[in-house]
Symmetry: C2
DNA sequence: CAAAAAAGAGCGAATGTTCGTTCTCGTTTA
DNA sequence: TAAACGAGAACGAACATTCGCTCTTTTTTG
């Protein structure tokens, strides 16, 4: 899955050569060829995301993706070794983008505001592997697909766990810090409190209210009420 | 060899005959054959549910379902005309079971208690088309699968909408009744409030906390806090 | 009521299609 | 000039579904 950096290896002389000429090595990493590779990979991921949003991971065929990317199967398979690897890349990008939203919590000195920001940013989030001009609810659709896929696909589950483990930790440490400085008085066990907040937030994200005509601003008080109810800020 | 070419024709006298003797009619509806049909259909649905929980709607093949049901494809296809129809039947049963939990809300004179009951009952809910001795989290798994399938499959989306429309109405009328009798002071628009409650509840159900070692009782205060935060009961 | 006919139930091999992937070969690039 | 790129036909496996057939149950007929 990771070794798609050197398609069709024929490894026997490769090491000798890269030892022999260093210029080749630099070209490999930063030259036109390498740049093109990145561009093509991005093109494939974007096309795949479009197809997956439309038909799901299993409903979209490799031919669909090829057509969407304007590429033949032979070409596409030079960049990704399998459909599975495309799915895993997209899942990882999606969950990573979610995790990065949590990084911004530290900019807030108020845990409630921080949580509201996390929720609202997720609502606004665009699919990490598409350039925005597709269906508006692409992110919510992909998210539902990922949750279902994680149940049956171990590799996808591992990708989710990788980033969601980080998210759990960040959430937990933010909450316990707020508790320690006397800002809140959460109901129940902190781990459960964090998990419940995350699960309830996910429920709203998946329901994709903006696509149903609900204005995004209307969701802010909902997130705030949720955070207040579970964390119980103490009066100043 | 050649003369058995016409084995299954001749429907022409059927109507006359069923008019002639009512006994046939009764036999058709309640006789051994009809009973057997129901038993077989249930057997297929249970086997299909097991396979779908294990591998998803698209990951499970008809052969898998046949093996699980101890039945040949030829036999199975006598009871369901397609895989699609099995999926739709299971989806409808699942969503119907959810909707029926809401029916019990009317037994409560307190809207908060009623909502907590709805949440907890969903946590305890077993898949409607299986006889319980399978994986404990079958219901949550199927639910995630349904949500993803509803995005791409119009028929499944319609089944969901049918029952979820009922659920929305029940929730909305319960909330507005409580508001009218001065029991609560909900934040924001009632429709949005109901939708948010449902979405957040779904998030918890899908996360399937009991399967992750969280005791079910621990979830009750979470549901209660959620309901209190969104509906804001007024002090007596 | 017995015999005959029809319909139902079941099996498992066969069918036609779709799909992910690979192969072959011509073209471009460094 | 050798490696990378790319196109598109081809391949083999898997899949949902159907077919031909046998055996059993129900219904009709003489």
């Amino acid at each position: 899955m990771v070794d798609n950096i050197l398609p069709r290896p024929t490894k026997h002389l490769a090491d000798e050569k890269s030892d022999r000429e260093g210029g080749c090595f630099v070209t490999k990493l930063f030259g036109k060829r390498a740049q093109n590779r990145e561009v093509q990979e991005a093109r494939i991921l974007e096309a795949a995301t479009t197809c997956f949003v439309r038909a799901g991971f299993h409903g979209a065929s490799m031919n669909d993706i090829c057509s969407e990317a304007g590429m033949s199967p032979g070409a596409l398979y030079r960049y990704f070794p399998s459909k599975e690897s495309i799915i895993e890349t997209i899942v990882a990008a999606h969950r990573k983008a979610s995790a990065e939203i949590l990084d911004r919590m530290s900019a807030y000195d108020n845990i409630i505001d921080a949580l509201v920001m996390v929720g609202m940013e997720h609502i606004h989030q665009k699919s990490a592997t598409s350039t925005g001009d597709g269906v508006g609810d692409a992110n919510a659709r992909i998210f539902a697909e990922i949750r279902a896929e994680a149940i049956r696909n171990e590799a996808v589950a591992a990708q989710c766990e990788l980033y969601e483990g980080q998210m759990r930790e960040q959430l937990l440490s933010a909450i316990s810090a707020a508790k320690n400085r006397g800002e809140i008085d959460p109901i129940g066990d902190l781990g459960l409190v964090a998990a419940t907040l995350a699960a309830m937030g996910e429920g709203v994200i998946m329901r994709n209210f903006p696509a149903q005509g609900v204005p995004v601003e209307a969701l802010e008080p909902m997130f705030r009420a949720l955070a207040v109810a579970i964390l119980r800020p103490v009066k100043a």
